[in-house]
């Protein structure tokens, strides 16, 4: 347990010190949301209707930007070799690193989202459910990104390949994430069914993604 905590603390500290990845993700998210109304024109009703979708799509793309770094740096400087000889199973190492990605990228993006929502004329009443849905859904975003990051480890310019691999897996998160924010689309006037599915997606990926990522890491380390 203390070894897992040491790894988590190191990864968070590294992300904080290096700063770049989180900053780029936040900046990218801001830009995507800002240019969308410019492309669509000043129809406030239209913007309000599509705001949850734009906020979710932007968040997924922004999170992907820094996903490559989950394992890349440790792979390049040899730390991953040493991590693999540690007392933690590689599965747990992978899980902890995905968790660090969620803490350092997922949460900052979620905290930025309501402010960006204001730019899209999102109804203020939906902001709590937006933040709640994103907090529940972003763990799945980070852990699934971990699978892609481990599969593309060691490839040059792996960013695009990573996106191709991972974005299809994001479809359920996107669907249930958006329908949590806009309950009138789904029928019953309650956010709970899609929200609970979102939670289950996150829980399932927290359990399953580290297994897949560790298997890919083991192959990459050979």
């Amino acid at each position: 347990m203390s070894t897992a905590r040491a790894l988590l603390a190191r990864d968070v500290r590294l992300a904080w010190r290096e700063g770049g990845a989180v900053g780029v993700a936040l900046g990218f998210y801001l830009i995507v949301v800002v240019i969308t109304p410019l492309g669509l024109g000043p129809d406030l009703n239209l913007l309000a209707r599509i705001a949850p979708g734009i906020l979710w799509v932007g968040l997924l793309l922004a999170a992907l930007l820094s996903a490559g770094r989950i394992f890349d740096n440790d792979y390049e400087d040899g730390s991953l070799d040493v991590l693999a000889t540690g007392p933690l199973p590689l599965t747990v190492v992978a899980g902890v690193k995905c968790l660090a990605h969620w803490l350092t990228t997922g949460i900052p993006l979620v905290l930025l989202a309501p402010f960006l929502g204001l730019l899209l004329n999102i109804p203020l009443g939906t902001l709590p459910s937006l933040v709640l849905a994103m907090l529940a859904g972003t763990p799945a975003v980070s852990f699934v990104a971990g699978i892609g990051a481990s599969l593309t480890l060691g490839l040059r310019r792996s960013g695009l390949l990573l996106a191709l691999l991972v974005v299809p897996l994001y479809v359920p998160i996107l669907i249930f994430g958006v329908s949590t924010v806009t309950p009138y689309v789904t029928g019953p006037n309650t956010i709970w069914p899609p929200f609970l599915i979102l939670c289950s997606l996150s829980l399932a990926s927290i359990v399953l993604a580290p297994l897949a990522a560790a298997a890919a890491l083991r192959t990459a380390l050979r």
């Binding site: 040491a6 500290r13 590294l14 070799d81 000889t85």
Partner: protein, 209 residues
């Protein structure tokens, strides 16, 4: 300085295959506590691959490894310290933070950081970001990891690369101290070390074109 170790390691007929090519096969050795093995051979003979097999990163194509003296069920990898071609240092952490992390991660923090910093004379640089270190200093930092968490088996792959003469002497002394404490060292090197190796393994290019 370190708790005396009492682990012996033996390899029985191990083989290694990379990309369909057999690098070596039928390799056996047995190391008792306090013994050292020198791995030599031309480039591409499989020295690094052998060390990575012991580290548990590469699968054995044949044969098996056995360890006695350790708790049962402990994988060989968890008894090993491996210092390879890459230094595994984080450029934005200080020297001390780098070592402290490995001490926590590899050994639950029961290694002695002061010892680790002193081993290769890194105390004056302790609060310096590792990114500003020279290649030789980074190497010393990687080697200091050996002291951050006590482990009985040292796997050193060309440990003397980019070290100055003085540091190579320190490295030599570190290996000898480790052996005296009952540890095992498996070293692949082209630079002659003063350490007396009890065994030598010479890998050849069996399929040399």
């Amino acid at each position: 300085m370190q708790s005396p170790f009492n682990v012996s390691l033996a390899a029985h007929d191990i083989g290694c295959e990379r990309g369909g090519r057999t690098l070596f096969q039928g390799l056996s050795f047995a190391l008792a506590p306090g013994e050292a093995l020198l791995v030599s051979g031309p480039n591409g003979a499989g020295k690094t691959s052998l060390l990575r097999q012991l580290e548990g990163l590469l699968p054995l194509a044949a044969g098996r490894l056995s360890v006695t003296g350790a708790e049962e069920d402990t994988p060989v990898a968890e008894l090993c310290h491996a210092v390879g071609h890459l230094n595994a240092t984080k450029t934005s952490l200080t020297v001390r933070e780098n070592l402290a992390f490995w001490a926590d991660f590899l050994g639950n923090g029961d290694g002695d950081l002061a010892d680790a910093l002193a081993a290769f004379g890194l105390e004056p640089l302790a609060d310096f970001p590792a990114g500003l270190l020279s290649a030789g200093q980074k190497r010393k930092l990687a080697l200091s990891r050996l002291y951050a968490a006590p482990r009985p088996i040292w796997l050193l792959d060309e440990p003397s690369v980019s070290l100055d003469a003085h540091a190579v002497t320190r490295l030599d002394r570190a290996i000898r101290d480790h052996l005296k404490a009952g540890g095992i060292a498996i070293v692949s090197t082209h630079v002659p070390l003063k350490t007396e190796f009890d065994h030598e393994l010479s890998l050849g290019l069996e399929r040399a074109a």
